[in-house]
């Protein structure tokens, strides 16, 4: 197993674990954490698989483009987490609940 494939598989494992937690946990804070684990997984796949010369089995060289992209992704993830936490805190202050309503989809 080559190094990029190893990191990609670790990243995918994080994505799957995050997705599972997002679905099974009802508490909103856990859902936000699950999304954070998922995004870390995606970033790991992105960085792990990036190669300088695509399509060749050249020795690994750092490719700055995906790093810049992942940096942007991290900023987005932080913003999403902040927005989600603000909304959750506000909902808890208003209603005392920290879960989603179940009465949708009727």
């Amino acid at each position: 197993m080559t190094q990029p494939v190893f990191w990609a598989l670790v990243g995918m494992a994080l994505v799957v674990m995050g997705l599972y937690a997002l679905i099974v946990h009802a508490h909103l804070l856990r859902k936000v954490l699950a999304l954070n684990v998922m995004s870390s997984g995606v970033f790991l796949v992105f960085i792990g698989l990036a190669r300088r010369a695509p399509g060749e089995d050249a020795p690994l060289a750092a490719d700055p483009v995906p790093q810049a992209m992942v940096l942007t992704g991290i900023v987005v993830a932080v913003a999403a987490t902040g927005l989600a936490l603000a909304l959750i805190v506000r909902q808890r202050a208003l209603t005392g609940r920290t879960t989603l309503n179940d009465d949708v989809g009727r």
Binding site: V15, L35, L49, P54, G55, M69, A84
Partner: protein, 507 residues
């Protein structure tokens, strides 16, 4: 080689930049100057619409327009491209945007808190939409998707009530999940192609390692379907669209869901070449068509069962989104008629659904509630609003001469020509169910309620902007010769365009 940006006079690239940077700067400015938010917002909305419509005219006259941001060539630079598809959607956004802005200025007149946050978020959302329609770079598209998602979520929560907050949180979780799935796809595409420029990726997909590319595109499309609220991913949409303030619901239903649909279409046509070539693409198209058909039926039935007007309109959006996906199996034969039909339907739905939500806002303001059974002869007191609702309903049902009619007729034509009678039945059934739920509302508006209620007056601007949009949805049906050249998608290949561009500026 830097592109010539400062040529004589204004041309396509200038209008492109203006369509994004005017609302973006106005968003920041109106956040800093909350007292001036309304006038600033209205001026910015007008300028943005002028830029978008001028760009559309340019694209109609000159064909696809491009610009490289900062003069950096692909693959490192970011390409902006306006073709017929992006121009048509930007023009629709401009018309809806101006009317919603006029409406919002009246709607939030006495609510300083909401007004101070509405304008920056709405202008940010508009900038993100225009940037999304213009970007020809998968990662830049991810950034615009997130900008769009965050401003849409914040707008949903604007009212601050418990239902709005809950809807907004659900919307945010779904939106982030969809974007992450999309980003995972981008990561795999970058791995396979070493670029995220749509043209370069399209040129590389046929030679790239197949399983990785299939997983990548599947992840991207699945994430976008979640954001588009295609059945069965629609459960987040009604609570979010139903609990937001009226101008916000109009924007979310008319414009925001179209953005992710547009992106699915871009990937399908420009990167996958319309799904032809092998059995896998055919299978995916049939699946999308089946989900679309299920969405048409399920969304319409649920719309019919709703007791609150805004939820009825929101479920109607689920049904109308379904229609857009019926074009995927119908276009497999290489026939562009189905695409033109679906896009016509997308434009008509944008105008009509915005009108409907604005009408719902008027009725809510008027009676203090939106329970359909208690609309209480609203037709006598808000005749303009009810006229607008009925006209928008004509387009949603697909009766002539509306834009919705043209869209459904083109889809039906494709379905009959290919003897896909099941899809044709779904198209007709969806129209009949739409008629049922529109008449349910109109019928109750003619019936007096049992007891008198206290009512509030509705400012005339709010009635006129609704009726303008509804009339626009009808008029759209009469302008087919004018608009259809813009919607001839699925014929021109982005790959060849990118090759030309590279030959010009990148070599």
């Amino acid at each position: 080689m830097p592109l010539e940006l400062l040529g004589p006079g204004w041309s396509g690239p200038h209008w492109m930049l203006a369509a994004v940077f005017v609302p973006l700067s106005a968003a920041l400015l109106s956040f800093l100057l909350p007292r001036l938010a309304s006038p600033l917002g209205l001026i910015a909305a007008t300028l943005t619409a002028v830029a978008a419509l001028a760009l559309t005219r340019e694209v109609m006259a000159e064909g696809t327009t491009r610009t490289l941001l900062g003069g950096w060539a692909t693959p490192l630079g970011i390409l902006w491209r306006a073709d017929g598809l992006s121009a048509a959607l930007m023009a629709m956004t401009a018309i809806v945007g101006v009317m919603v802005s006029l409406y919002a200025a009246a709607y939030f007149r006495h609510e300083a808190h909401e007004r101070a946050y509405f304008w920056p978020l709405w202008l940010m959302l508009w900038a993100a939409l225009n940037a999304l329609f213009l970007s020809a770079d998968l990662f830049n598209l991810y950034v615009t998707l997130e900008l769009l998602g965050f401003s849409a979520v914040s707008l949903t929560a604007l009212g601050g009530g418990a239902a709005a907050l809950n809807g907004a949180i659900r919307y945010l979780l779904v939106s982030v999940l969809g974007s992450l799935s999309y980003l995972l796809g981008v990561a795999l595409v970058y791995h396979g192609c070493g670029s995220v420029d749509i043209g370069l990726v399209a040129a590389c997909v046929p030679d790239a390692p197949r399983p990785a590319m299939q997983v990548a595109l599947a992840a991207m499309i699945a994430g976008l379907l979640l954001k588009t609220a295609l059945f069965p991913f629609h459960v987040w949409l009604p609570p979010a669209h139903g609990s937001a303030p009226a101008p916000v619901s109009a924007v979310l239903s008319a414009l925001v869901v179209k953005a992710s649909f547009y992106l699915v279409l871009r990937l399908w046509l420009d990167v996958l070449g319309g799904g032809d070539g092998d059995g896998g693409g055919r299978w995916v198209a049939e699946l999308l068509g089946a989900l679309g058909a299920a969405g048409v039926v399920w969304g319409s039935v649920l719309a019919l069962r709703q007791e609150r007007l805004k939820l009825l309109i929101a479920y109607s959006t689920v049904a109308q989104i379904g229609y857009l996906f019926l074009a995927f199996p119908l276009a497999l034969t290489g026939d562009a008629v189905a695409w033109t039909g679906a896009l016509y339907l997308a434009l008509a739905h944008g105008l009509a659904k915005a009108a409907m939500f604005l009408c719902a806002g008027n009725l809510l303001r008027f009676g203090g509630h939106d329970r359909i059974a208690e609309l209480d002869s609203a037709v006598h007191r808000l005749p303009l609003t009810l006229t607008a609702f009925a006209l928008a309903g004509v387009s949603i049902m697909g009766l002539p001469p509306s834009g919705g009619f043209i869209g459904k007729w083109l889809l039906l034509k494709a379905a009959f020509e290919q003897e896909r009678f099941l899809l044709a039945t779904v198209i007709l059934l969806g129209g009949a169910l739409a008629a049922a739920y529109v008449f349910k509302v109109v019928g109750h508006a003619f019936t007096p309620a049992e007891r008198e209620r206290r009512v509030r007056s509705v400012p005339p601007d709010m009635e006129w902007s609704a009726i303008f949009l509804a009339v626009a949805a009808i008029v759209l049906g009469l302008t087919l010769p004018l608009i259809s050249p813009l919607l001839q998608v699925g014929t021109a290949s982005a790959a060849s365009a990118a090759v030309t561009l590279m030959a010009e500026g990148y070599a």
